[in-house]
Each structure stands twice: as structure tokens, then as C-alpha cells.
Symmetry: C2
Subunit: 456 residues, 2 copies
């Protein structure tokens, strides 16, 4: 019996895709390319995943785990002969504890359905991002996804109470903890969060829910200097009393691009400020929330920290503001050929970095143009560099200047294949050695998502 | 040259203690026993720690890392011939970023001094516990310490942005990240948090600070049922808008013991409620905070969820309430011979558990008496079982009933030596196998805190 037949015995004939059903799936981020894998196996239960991995381990078959394919770093890319293990038939929302605020789901559960289940129980699931309609919990765990509310709720890691993981050899590590505090031995689930499918396959998770927020306040602010932006962040963190849920900065080049060149978005504020900030707070009581938000922003306007402001007067207006911030697709389309980056570094170094990066680009790639924005409350900025002849030359400038300042080449997207060769820009030799030690200890045959994150 | 002399060459003659200077230090929790180690080496720098470990690795010398000795599970216990590595001369608060709210410290820095440095910069360090005057950051990291504000701010893990760790062979893994978001490769620091000194020696940490809280509200509540306690928790989590910072439950047997038998604490409420809750919220604006707190509690009293309440009218009164909750020392002294436990389990199982545990004790140890209290918002309860003939018999009841419900034998104190033989009550076989795999990969000679957490 060949491998395909053996897999069919485990998951049924419908569970294994081959030929055009494989070729029609992508091989790269943004849906690009054609998947060259030998097959896509689609288990329905943890036990099936376990049997698949035991089989692949015995045969040294390379396995590439797939979630919702919303990643951006080629973490799902296959070579010919690879087997894709897709979680698309493991989407169950299994159990909710409405008193404690926990939710147990299969790894293939889609983010949107998890958010809906949380809302139905009177809670919220606090990770949110543009790919919510496709992104799966397993992939979000495996990439330690971030999103727009990290400044308040943390990344995916902070939403995971328990995990069930199938190891490279098919053993099932079940650690479906439900409580905030559990110091009984090493917290093994931490190993798998953010390991991008290279150490194990997440099959199930217990998620921590947060109290639902019934009152949102949103404002778009014009700022005269980066120092004012930093002071604003500091002030809102304390004076909004922990309720600051988003702090998104747009450099002037980004705002202008969105409202002048794309012209699909409204001009909320004049285009002559050097920085703009989209801020949001989340509370329970609409009246109280509005009073606090407007009084805190009012004081900052009076003292000159904020130069100009629009406070959203309706949910619709808030959505328009967010639509501008989140319209990365239009930006990327308009700037092609382009390269997009997702970096992080301390607040104190950001101005220095952006200036050095812009100078470096002007010198090496005078035709290129750059747009800068990001989740500043998390130290995370995104760069889109457009009109470029050569991806590599841009990477050398962007990552080179970052290396000088000790920044991270990946704030939230992960490493995958795309950034792998730059990993040493952000991690020391010994840390990378230790990553290899770990990879070897957990996947000695190197069959799990081979070549991703670290080279073999 | 013998080992002592070699160590003296690294840290200077003053850096190595022997003889009575070792014997005068404890060997167990609560300051009990006499340390039988061959010596205590006290490095001042990471480089010295690195050289010490390289030497010990070469000679297969067992090393027991020491922080402030406030642990409660015999994680610092030595055998004759062991070398203690104490961080007591590495107490520097190295660097604060007042805008970003981060603090870099050496691992020997004492919690109180870290809290003070944070306060001086206009922030707070959010982990707090009774041992703040001695507990060191390195030990708090190594044990993933909890404390009284976990329900709001999380455990130590959530306060650690970056770590520097000396590995078993002396290599220095420096990963002093300062930003909230960094997905450049596996997050190796997670391995060391909560590993109780068995995988590496924390030498330095970058800590996340939180906005200072200028307005605290504290109340002590009498409750008619456990269901009311659960409803109260749920309601406060949403209606205090994320500002609920403590939710400490005292079963009637605890409150009565404190106010009737010890009689050193004030009787704040009548003694006839089955449960009492100490709640605290932390905000920025005293007037607003008081208004919110009293209105939310007032509504709950009106609808009968809260049976009786005292709201602290001053900082002093709040301190008296906390003094009662935190006076574990008196409790333990009064109940000797006793055994203390620190367990966690889901809210839904708590009543079942406590009843089964009490029945089990009544049957097996009719003379014993038990006092129950805990951080209920975290699923964490503490038990003190007094007047016992036999530690092991108590453990079998307490842990046995817990195992039936899938609870954790250690919510926050860790495993150390004390709970090691019960680890399998809370962790599956494969998870424990994986812990061993990790231990072997990182400390192949087994020289780091040998025998703690998992047996060799």
C-alpha cells in the first residue's frame, strides 16, 4: 500500500486530496503560486492527526501543516513530495464555560466563528485581524498572532490557557488547562505557540475570553511631532485606565497616500501633520466612556500635545477610520512592485530608525518610496516600500538599519521561509543554536514544516 | 587547584562562602534546616555566572541556583557536595525607559526595589507578594510567580519582555527584548520562565511596567452562596471595566479562624456567612473610581448577590483587610502540625472539590481541620490542613480528589522537591516525557538544580 492509500485508510477517501485539487491551492502568501505537494490530508479528529503523524514519522515523510492560509511569510510553502496536513475539517467549537470565560475549540475553528461564540456567551475573544474570516485558531497559535488590540490584551500567547498538540512522532500531548494559574511543571504549551508548525501540530486549544466591551470610543488625531506621539501614548495608557485598546500611528506619507493618491478614503484631517494616530478605548458604559475619552483628549488638545482631532460620532464613522487604516490591500496593489515589512523596536529608536532607513533607501534605491504605519503601542511598525527593482536590496536596507538598533525583523508575522535568512539579524548565535537544539529534540527527523523558521 | 580555588579565581575570595557561612543558611522552605552544600558562590556579573557554569559543566558539578529563598516547595534544597549559586550580589537596577515603561535589572534585584524603581519612574511593577522584601526577580521568573493581582495583570510570565540566561554549559543566551511584539523565531525565554532553575540560570531581565494606579478601592463582602461568589466575579470583571485587580475569597472556616481563634484581626463582618470576598479595583482618578466601585457594589447588594459589605474608608482600613487576608504566617503557626497546599481548578469544580476533600479528610484524618482561601479569579485556592499526624496521608486526600477533577497540584508555588512525586496527578505521561526531553536537551549532564520538578 502506498502512502496515499494508507492515509485514505485513516481519514477516508474524501479526506485526501490529490492532483488538481492540490494544484488549485496556493503555495505562497497572498494566494500566489500553485501547491506542488503530493497530497493534502484532511483529518477530522486528533486521533486521525496522531495516526497520520505516526505514519509520516515512520516513513520520514515531510509534512506541512496548513491553517487558514492568511499568513504573510511563506510559512505554508511546499516542495514537491511534501504532504500538506490541513485542519479545514477540524472546525468544532467544542465547549464554552460561560461563568469562567473559557472556550475549547478544535484547531481548525475559524477566528470569526470563535469571536461569534464568545460574543454569544457574553464575552469577547480579544485577538482580531483582517483575516478573521479565514484564519484558524491553530494557525493563530502557531504564529502567535497579534492584531489591533495587543496593547490592551496581548498577543495570541496571552489568550491560550491550554493546548493539545500532536508531536512529530504522533504522540498526543494533551494539556487542556482551563485556569489562569498552573505552575505544575514546565509550561510545555509555550514551546508550540509561535513555532510555526515546526515543533508540533496544534489540534485543540482552550482560549481565554475577555469581558465584552459595549462602549467603544474612536478618534483620529493630527500630531506635530514624534515626541508628542510618544507623550500621547504614555498619557492615554494611564489616563484611560487600562482601556486603551488600539494606538495606531500613520506617518504623513501613509495618510497622504490613502487620502490623496488612492482617494478612496475620506480626508478626516488636513494632510500637513507629520503623524496621525488612530486611538480607541473599550469600556462597558457608553456615557461614562464618552465622558472620559473626550475629557482626556480635550485636556491634551488644550495643552497642545494633540494638534487636531476628529472623534468618531457613530459606529459608522469609526468604521470609516478603521477602513482607512486597514486598507492594506489597496496600498499594496497601488505600490507594486513592492515589499512589505513588519518590524519592531523600542519607541526611543523609532525616529532614528525611520530616518536611517529612509536615507538608506534614498541612497540605494532612489526610485523607491516608502509608507510607514504601525501599532506603536506594541513597538511594531509596518513598512511598505513601493516601486522597487529588487526585493533583496530593500531587505538589506530595511533589516540592516534594524540590526544596528537591535530591532526585530518580525513583530507579528513570523519568520516562515521569507525571513529565515535574516533571522541572525535579530537573534544571537546562541539563541539560534538553542532553537536548533529544540527543533532537533522535538522533531529529530525534521519532518515538520521543514526549512521554515530555521534552515535544516 | 580544587573547585573552591577555581571559583575564587572567578569571583574573588569574598565571593565564595564555605563552612559555617554555608551551614547557617537554610535547606528548606520557611527557613528550615541547615544547608549542606560544599560552598555558596556569589557572582557579580553575567560573565562570572558564565565562567562558573562552564567550570561546573566540565566537572559535572551539581549546581543549585538561589534567589531570595522565599519559595515554598523546597526548590532550593541541596545535598552534600552541591554548589549553591546565589544571585545575592547581582542586585542592580540597570536601566529604566520611562516613556515605554520597561525596566532592565539583574536577576538578584529584590522585588521591593524593582517596585520602588518602577514607582519612581511613574509606573508600577504589577507582581506583588508577601515576600517582596527578599524575593528576587530571577527567582520570580524561574518560578513564574503569581501573587494578588494576577486576575488583572497576569503572572510573572506576562511581565517579562526579555531575558538573559546562562545555560548549563556556560553559554549566555541574551534575549533582552524590550517590545511587546517580537515573533522573530521561537520565543526561547518562555522555556526558562517557570522552569525552577533546572534549565538555565536567569541573570538579567527586561520587565514590563504598568501604569501606576493612584486610586484604589477595597471592600470586604459577606456572601450567601458559592454561586453568588461566581456571579460576583463575573459581574465585577465586566462592570469594573478591567480594573478589578484582586478577588480573594475566604471560606467561612478561614474568616472565623482569623477573627475568632487568632483574635488578632478585627471582625469586619458577622461570622455567619459561608463565604467572604476581598475585592480591590485599581484606577487613576479617586473620585471616579469611588463612584464606580460603590455604584457597582450597591447594585449587587440591592439585588441580593452581595449579602453584606464593608467598603474601606481609608488606606489604613484597606491595609487592615489585607493584613487579615495575608496573615498566613499566624495561621500556619496556629495550625501546626500542618500541611499547606496551593492548587488550581476550574470554577465549576471548586465546590465539588472542596466538599470531596473535606469528606476525604473527615474519613481518613478525623482530627484534622482545614482552612480554605484563595485567588478565585485565577482558579487558585490555598488549603491549610492543621492538626495532622501524617503529611503523606493529607497529600493523598488533597491531591487524590484533585486528580479526579483534572486540577493542578500547583497553581503558583511550583513543584520543587516537595510536589515532584505528585506531578503525574496533574500532567499526562507524554507531557512529562516531553519535559524530560527538554531537560535532557538543555542540561544533558543534569547539573542544574538536580532532582527538582522531575526526577533524574
Amino acid at each position: 500500500m502506498n502512502l496515499i492509500e494508507q492515509l485514505q485508510q485513516i481519514v477516508g477517501a474524501n479526506g485526501v486530496l490529490t492532483g488538481d485539487d492540490v494544484r488549485s491551492r496556493p503555495n505562497h502568501s497572498w494566494g500566489r503560486g500553485e501547491c506542488p505537494a503530493m497530497a493534502i490530508v484532511r483529518p477530522r479528529t486528533t486521533e486521525e492527526v496522531s495516526r497520520i503523524m505516526a505514519l509520516c514519522h515512520a516513513q520520514e515523510q515531510r509534512v506541512v501543516p496548513w491553517g487558514g492560509l492568511t499568513g504573510l511569510v511563506d510559512g505554508i510553502t511546499c516542495e514537491a513530495g511534501d504532504l500538506v496536513l490541513s485542519m479545514e475539517r477540524m472546525q468544532n467549537i467544542e465547549h464554552c464555560e460561560p461563568d469562567a470565560g473559557t472556550l475549547r475549540v478544535q484547531a481548525g475553528a475559524v477566528l470569526q466563528s470563535v469571536q461569534d461564540a464568545a460574543a454569544e456567551a457574553g464575552w469577547q475573544f480579544a485577538v482580531d485581524l483582517g483575516g478573521r474570516g479565514s484564519a484558524q485558531i491553530g494557525g493563530l497559535v502557531a504564529t502567535n498572532a497579534g492584531g489591533n488590540a495587543v496593547v490592551r490584551y496581548g498577543m495570541m500567547r496571552e489568550q491560550v490557557l491550554g493546548l493539545e498538540v500532536v508531536l512529530a512522532d504522533g504522540r498526543v500531548m494533551s494539556s487542556l488547562n482551563e485556569v489562569l494559574k498552573n505552575n505544575a511543571g514546565y509550561d510545555m504549551k509555550q514551546l508550540f505557540i509561535g513555532s510555526e508548525g515546526t515543533l508540533g501540530i496544534v489540534t485543540r486549544a482552550v482560549l481565554r475570553l475577555r469581558p465584552a466591551a459595549n462602549a467603544r470610543q474612536t478618534a483620529f488625531l493630527g500630531m506635530n511631532s514624534f515626541d508628542d506621539v510618544a507623550a500621547l501614548l504614555r498619557h492615554l495608557q494611564s489616563h484611560l485606565e487600562g482601556k486603551l485598546s488600539s494606538f495606531e500611528v500613520m506617518w504623513a506619507n501613509h495618510y497622504r497616500f490613502m487620502v490623496e493618491e488612492l482617494a478612496t478614503h475620506q480626508t478626516f484631517l488636513p494632510v500637513d501633520y507629520p503623524y496621525y494616530v488612530l486611538v480607541e478605548s473599550e469600556g462597558q458604559f457608553p456615557d461614562r466612556e464618552e465622558a472620559l475619552f473626550t475629557s482626556v483628549l480635550g485636556e491634551l488638545m488644550e495643552e497642545g500635545t494633540i494638534a487636531d482631532a476628529v472623534i468618531a460620532q457613530s459606529g459608522q464613522q469609526a468604521e470609516q477610520l478603521w477602513a482607512m487604516r486597514d486598507d492594506v490591500a489597496s496600498l499594496i496593489e497601488a505600490m507594486a512592485p513592492m515589499a512589505a515589512f513588519d518590524i519592531s523596536l523600542p519607541l526611543r529608536d523609532m525616529q532614528t530608525y525611520v530616518a536611517a532607513m529612509e536615507q538608506g533607501l534614498a541612497k540605494r534605491l532612489p526610485e523607491a518610496r516608502v509608507v510607514v504605519f504601525g501599532h506603536l503601542g506594541d513597538g511594531n511598525i509596518h513598512l511598505v516600500v513601493g516601486n522597487i527593482p529588487d526585493h533583496k536590496a530593500v531587505e538589506e536596507v530595511v533589516y540592516g538599519e534594524l540590526r544596528n538598533l537591535g530591532g526585530s525583523i518580525s513583530a507579528e508575522h513570523g519568520i516562515g521561509l521569507e525571513k529565515r535568512d535574516y533571522l541572525a539579524y535579530s537573534k544571537g548565535e546562541i539563541e539560534i543554536d538553542l532553537m536548533r537544539t529544540l527543533k532537533h529534540a522535538l522533531d529529530p527527523k525534521g519532518i515538520l514544516n521543514p526549512g521554515k523558521v530555521i534552515s535544516a
